[in-house]
Subunit: 357 residues, 2 copies
DNA sequence: CTGAAAGCGCTTACAG
DNA sequence: CTGAAAGCGCTTACAG
C-alpha cells in the first residue's frame, strides 16, 4: 500500500506528460544531445523547474555507461600534501561536472584492493590514485585490479608515485631531483654527516630518494655511512621516535633530512625537546612544501612541489581523455614528472660543530 | 559493429546461464536476501568468481533505491581538523559498505547549493555536512535544498556546526564550552586584556564563541573592550594579517585567542616576526587540538575535540538510521553536543607586562 | 527452495 | 524536429 504522504520523485516521464511531448524529447531538451525546437525546449525547462525535477544519475549512468564519478584513492588524507591534492582534484572535477569518490587506504595493500574493487563496482569513469601501497618485496600488489579497470576502458592515472612494473599514466613528483636539491644545499653549507630519516625502505624507488642521497654525497666526495640512513614510518609521530633513537645512538650528524614536511615537524619537536637548536646545532629539511611548512617552529627548508596543481592536472588529463573517447591502447597516456624548487628557509644553516659522540 | 576485442562485462545473467539457474537465484545467492540451497549457492559463487563478476552498483541502486553512497560536504579540507573528520567518516563508512562522495564548498553558499544539488542527483543514501556557509544576514541559505533531502527520506546530519533555524540531526562541538574553558584559563593566569581574533562575525552563533568570551570576562569582572574583538577569515594567512594589524594599531593585549589551531599558527608566526616571545610576551590559544598543535613552534594550549570520533559517530548515526528504516518524522534524530577538554601546553603563561601602547 | 517477469529512470538508435 | 520502443543490469514481489 503506497503511502499518500510520500511524494514520488518526478521523472522525465512526468515532465513529458505535462508538456505533451515524448520522454525522448524531454531527455534531449535537458541534455542538449539533440536539437529541440526553441519553443518546446523552453516549455520543457519551465515545467521541469516548476515540478522540482531532479535527474536520476544512477539511471542515466546505467543507460549511458558513464557515472560522472571519478575515484581518488589516497594513502593518508591527514598529510597536508595529500589534502591539498584533494582540493585540486575536487574543484577541477566539480567544474567539469564530475563528483569525487574518496577512498583512504592507510597504506595497506589489502585496503587498497578492497577500495579498488568498490570503485569498479560503482563504475567510476576514471581513477586517480596514490599507489604507495607496496608489498615487502617492492612490487605493486594490485596490478590485477588495475587490469580490470583497463579492460573496462576506465582510464587510470597514478599521482605522486608511479606504479611499480605496470605501465599506467602518471604525474609524479621527481623525488630524485628534490632529494638531490636538498642534499646538495646541505653539502654546500658544509655538512658532511647528513642523517636521512627515510621512509620504509621497501617503498623506496630505484632511482629515487636513496639514489639521490648517495649521488649527492658521491659527487661531493663524501663517503656514505649506512648508520646515517634510518628507516621511519610515514607519520610525524614515528619521525619523532626515530629521531630520538638516532640521538640516543650517539651517531654524529649535523643535519637531518626528512622525506616530507609532515614528518619533519615530528623531527623538529624531538630536537627541541633534547635542547638542540635548529639550525645552530642541527640543520633540518623537509619535502613537499605544505602550507604549514612556513609556519613551523623553525620555517622549513624544503623542496616545493605544486600539490594543488598536481591534482588539477590529473583531473584534466583524465577528463580530456574521457571526452576524446581516446583509443584504449595507450594505457600510459600521460607521463609527466613534476620538478621541485628548493625553498630555503630558516631551518638550515652552515655547519658549526658535530652532534653526538 | 561490436568490437570483438572488447570483453563485455559479465552480468548476473551470465552466471545464471552457466549455473543453470535463474538470475533471481543468482541475485539471492550473491546478496543473501533469501535462502538458497547450499549446493546452488556454492556453485554460483564459484562461477561468479571464475568469471570475474563485478556487480554493477548503478543498476542495483536504481532498482533497490539505495546507492550505498554517503555524501560529505565540507568547507575546507586543508584545515587538519576537517581532514581528521574525513578520516573518521571514510573508514567507518567503508567498514559498513558505504562509499564517500566528497564535496568541498570553500565556505561559499552558492557552491554549497551546487554540491547539494549534485548529491541529490547522485542519490546519496545519507548526507553529512559542515554547514558553515551562512549568508550575511546570519541565516542558512540552503534550507530549500535540505528539504529536498527530507522529502526523499534521506537522512541529513550536521557536523561541527548546527544549521541555523532548521531542525536537523547534528553532532556539534560545544564552542561555547571550549571558548569559555580557554578564556577562563587565560583569566586564571592573570590576563585581563585578551584579544580575540575571531571568525567572520556573521558566522558566530547566538550562544557560541562570542557569548562565551563575554561571559568569561563578565564573570571575572573584566570590562569588555570591543577593540580586542577582531574579525578574521578562516585561514592561517588571514590570521597572520589580522594579528599584524592588531599589533600595528597599538591596542594593548597580553593574550590572543584564535578560533582554531589552523589560524593560531598564522598568529604565532606574526608574533615571532615581530620579535614577541610566546608565552613570555603574549599567551596564545588555539581550538580543536589538531595533530599539529603539539608540533607547533610553541606547542599550543587549546580546547580538544575528538575530530575523528566525530566523523565516526556521524556515520554510525546515519547508517543505523538507514538500517532501521526509521520513521522520517524525526528529522532531528540525533542531537549531540561534544564537550571539549582543555589542553594546556607551552603557549600560555602568566601575565608579565602589557603589549602595545 | 526456485523461476518468470516486471520495472527502477534514464538514453539512444531507429524510423518518420 | 519528434516519437515509439528497446534496453542498461540489477532486485523483488508474485506464484509455485
Amino acid at each position: 500500500m503506497p503511502r499518500k504522504d510520500i511524494k514520488q520523485a518526478v521523472r522525465i516521464q512526468d515532465i513529458a506528460q505535462e508538456a505533451g511531448v515524448s520522454s525522448a524529447t524531454v531527455s534531449y531538451a535537458l541534455c542538449g544531445t539533440r536539437g529541440v525546437s526553441a519553443d518546446t525546449r523552453k516549455r520543457i525547462l519551465r515545467i521541469a523547474n516548476s515540478l522540482g525535477y531532479i535527474p536520476n544519475r544512477q539511471a542515466a549512468a546505467l543507460r549511458a555507461r558513464r557515472s560522472m564519478i571519478l575515484g581518488f584513492l589516497v594513502t593518508d588524507i591527514k598529510n597536508p600534501f595529500f589534502a591539498e591534492i584533494v582540493c585540486g582534484i575536487e574543484s577541477t572535477a566539480a567544474a567539469r561536472g564530475y563528483r569525487l569518490m574518496l577512498c583512504v587506504t592507510g597504506d595497506d595493500p589489502r585496503d587498497e584492493a578492497r577500495h579498488l574493487q568498490m570503485l569498479l563496482e560503482h563504475g567510476v569513469d576514471g581513477l586517480i590514485l596514490v599507489p604507495i601501497a607496496r608489498s615487502q618485496d617492492g612490487t605493486y600488489p594490485n596490478t590485477s585490479l588495475l587490469r580490470a579497470f583497463h579492460r573496462r576502458r576506465t582510464p587510470v592515472i597514478a599521482v605522486v608515485d608511479a606504479i611499480k612494473d605496470h605501465p599506467t599514466a602518471r604525474i609524479t613528483t621527481s623525488v630524485y631531483e628534490g632529494t638531490r636539491l636538498v642534499a646538495e644545499h646541505l653539502i654546500a653549507l658544509g655538512h658532511r654527516r647528513i642523517a636521512y630519516l627515510s621512509q620504509p625502505f621497501h617503498r623506496i624507488q630505484k632511482f629515487g630518494r636513496h639514489a639521490a642521497y648517495h649521488d649527492a654525497l658521491n659527487h661531493a666526495g663524501i663517503p656514505f655511512d649506512p648508520e646515517l640512513m634510518v628507516e621511519a614510518g610515514l607519520t610525524p609521530d614515528d619521525a619523532y621516535e626515530k629521531t630520538g633513537q638516532l640521538l640516543d645512538s650517539g651517531i654524529r650528524f649535523t643535519a637531518a633530512m626528512y622525506p616530507n614536511d609532515y614528518m619533519a615537524v615530528g623531527g623538529l619537536r624531538m630536537l627541541r625537546e633534547r635542547g638542540l637548536r635548529v639550525p645552530d646545532d642541527v640543520s633540518v629539511t623537509g619535502f613537499d612544501d605544505v602550507e604549514w611548512a612556513r609556519f613551523c617552529e623553525v620555517p622549513l627548508t624544503t623542496a616545493r612541489f605544486p600539490a594543488r596543481a598536481l591534482g588539477e592536472m590529473a583531473v584534466r588529463e583524465l577528463t580530456e581523455r574521457l571526452s576524446r573517447h581516446a583509443p584504449p591502447e595507450d594505457e600510459a597516456f600521460c607521463q609527466i614528472s613534476v620538478s621541485p624548487t628548493l625553498v630555503v628557509r630558516r631551518s638550515t644553516g652552515p655547519v658549526a660543530g658535530e652532534l653526538g659522540a
